[in-house]
């Protein structure tokens, strides 16, 4: 099933009004499984390739990595975008920071990872699903750098939490007219590094490479994240070997960030699999673009 999604809104405030526009989206659902979908901006030039990849049948012969297996994991094909969406994007949202629910609260200015990652939340990227001209409180879209060379330097706030944190607003988003705005990220864009992604895989004796994620969550009690891997390969002596069955990876937010290898891929790639984010039960379109990253240690569930 193919759904076309467009949204038109106007924010009227005492000082004037602004029209809120976002990219027209397309959502493709697998008829056999309503849980599987592709969400993308309709004008995304790679959409045709993504639809072909989405419709590919799953591999028939696969290997199940054993539970408890701890190993290095390469996140390729833009899958590090959803990873950082969970580890960094949500954790810098103003409401979670203001009331101490984020493990990153109180860490402003701290080096979270030795990788010189620069992560920007950019609603101006209209080729990605989370774009908007201004947020649902009428603040014009502005990119916010949340991580600069690995150092935590920005929060994503609506007007209310911006006042508390003495920072800029611009991320007050609403699922629809029935809900008030809350701080939500838009498109998380990770700057390219200078490492050839092949070298990240080539240096591993035994590990895994993830090429498609089906979902990711962070448990608010334990602050551990669970990543649902849909496609990937086993790596042996730097070469892709067996195709992986669907499985899950886990680790704590701060431990995974600390375990990101300093070498960052030079291949920023938009993710097409997870164009929709649910927070407190409320869905919103979001996007990401990220290069290949290596996490030195993750645990298979």
């Amino acid at each position: 099933m193919v759904r076309h999604l467009t949204r038109q809104a106007v924010v009227v405030r005492r000082d004037g009004w602004r029209q809120v526009t976002g990219p027209p989206l397309v959502r493709l659902e697998d008829g056999a499984d309503r849980g599987t979908a592709l969400v993308a901006a309709r004008d995304q030039p790679l959409l045709g390739d993504w639809i072909r990849a989405f419709l590919e049948p799953p591999p028939s012969r696969t290997w199940d990595p054993p539970a408890g297996f701890k190993c290095p994991v390469v996140f390729a094909n833009g899958t590090s975008g959803p990873l950082l969406h969970e580890l960094v994007g949500h954790m810098v949202e103003g409401d979670l920071v203001a009331d101490g629910r984020s493990p990153l609260a109180g860490l402003a200015g701290a080096n979270l990872t030795e990788a010189r990652l620069t992560v920007t939340d950019d609603p101006g990227r209209f080729d990605l699903p989370g774009a908007f001209s201004c947020d649902d409180e009428g603040v014009p879209a502005n990119p916010v750098v949340v991580l600069r060379e690995g150092r935590l330097c920005g929060w994503l706030c609506d007007r209310e939490t911006a006042e508390l944190g003495d920072t800029l607003a611009g991320r007050g988003r609403r699922p629809d007219w029935r809900y008030p705005p809350t701080p939500r990220l838009s498109n998380l864009v990770v700057a390219a590094g200078d490492a050839d992604p092949d070298t990240l895989e080539a240096g591993l004796t035994h590990g895994l490479v993830v090429t498609r994620l089906a979902g990711a969550t962070v448990d608010p009690v334990s602050t551990r994240t669970v990543l649902r891997v849909e496609r990937g390969f086993e790596l042996r002596n730097g070469r892709r070997r067996r195709t992986l069955a669907a499985f899950e990876l886990t680790g704590s937010v701060t431990e995974i960030l600390a375990a990101i290898h300093p070498a960052v891929g030079n291949d920023p790639t938009p993710d097409w699999r997870l164009g929709w984010c649910v927070k407190d039960g409320l869905p919103l379109p979001t996007g990401s673009e990220a290069p290949t990253l290596l996490v030195r240690r993750l645990e298979v569930l």
Binding site: V221, R224, R228, T250
Partner: protein
Amino acid sequence: MGSSIESDELYDRLGDAVTTCGELLGGTTVDRWEVFAKNSLTRETEISGGRIRRTIQVEENGIGIRVYDQGRAGFAAVSGLDAGAARFAVESGRAGAVHGPDPMPPARLLGTSDVARGPELPPRGWAQHVASELEMALSAMSDNVLRLGRAMIQEGRYAWTLHTGDGWSARHDRTVASMVVEVQVGDRPGTWREWVHVADPAAIDAEAVASRIGNRALLTRHNVATDRGLHDLLLHPEVSAQLVAALSPLFIATDVGQDRLPGLLDRNGLLAAYALTITDDRSDPSAPVVSPCDGEGLPARRTLLLEEGAPRHRVASYADAHRFDELPRGGAVRLSYRDRPVSGLVNLRVLTEDGMAAGELLAASDRALYLLRPLAPVVCDLAADSYSLIASGVWLEHQRVRGWHPVVELRGGLGTLLRRIDAVGSDLCWFETPRGFVGAPSLLIRRQPVMG
């Protein structure tokens, strides 16, 4: 305040909307029609530190219309109840009609329109009072270890009316309430979050709610302990509810090519152990969704889906029942005026008449993993007869807690899991799941593979 519109005035407006639609349709070639008009009022109050932080009140009105016009079936939905909305709904329903069978049930199948009115919304201040009582009860039951972070008290009232061109009509109104409670557990970072269905706002028992939340949340204070291998499992009702929700596609009528149920049955025709009986019931007054009829007007009834492990019936809208050779049992769901009626479950419930008390369940296994809360929806691959369940839990030895396992995964054969259900608890609770409301008790399952 009860409602922004007094009840009689509200019914007048709903009635005016359907009357206008009926008059407009009367002058056309439409053979059969059905008009659904609904008003809903919801109020969410967020409370923390004893103060109201935010109140969101939303009122919504709309009309949904189905027509059958000379071999063409159409549906349209329009917000608003005025004459303009009625006209637009009628015009859109006719304009969008496509060739196909008449999806509407015949008048002889429709149920009663004799419906009692629901109570008014609780008075203003009720939410703050409930949060205050809950805060004290949590503190008292845990020696100040549990602190209420936030409480979101949700109250709602809806009223709808359904009319058909055959002269049949029904109307209904109801008040509903629930709350989302966030609790801090000692000095541990992280938040315990729980959704609680409030069947009767006038009789809410803050101590019982605090006990329900606290008994589980306090278990996460234990030191981390992990294990793997084959173990007995005790599923908290919230985990059981996610598992039952994942089975729900099996209970909805479908065509033979998509039907996964036969492949999951054992040689005796059983899907699950004898202990498991599941129904769908919109006439249960303690359930979250109660109505006198389904989304098309068929009388509300309890549908037996699984009886002592054996599949019995499936739910279907009238059109799907006709299509898939099922008896129409009132299985059409209409979540909003915007949605056409579709086959679906409303209150999926595990029967607990013969359930064991929680203490007896705990005593039934010397060594078990007690799964406290799901960390993700339970995934069941019905075609491959497999499941994956990710949860946090505690290890129990001789009814004592050995340690907390923050993230644990279970994977294996779905049929094997369901047929190893040894006992059902009597502690039924309702939960909101991605597949609707599910009422489930604790479940004891013997010898399942536990990973990591």
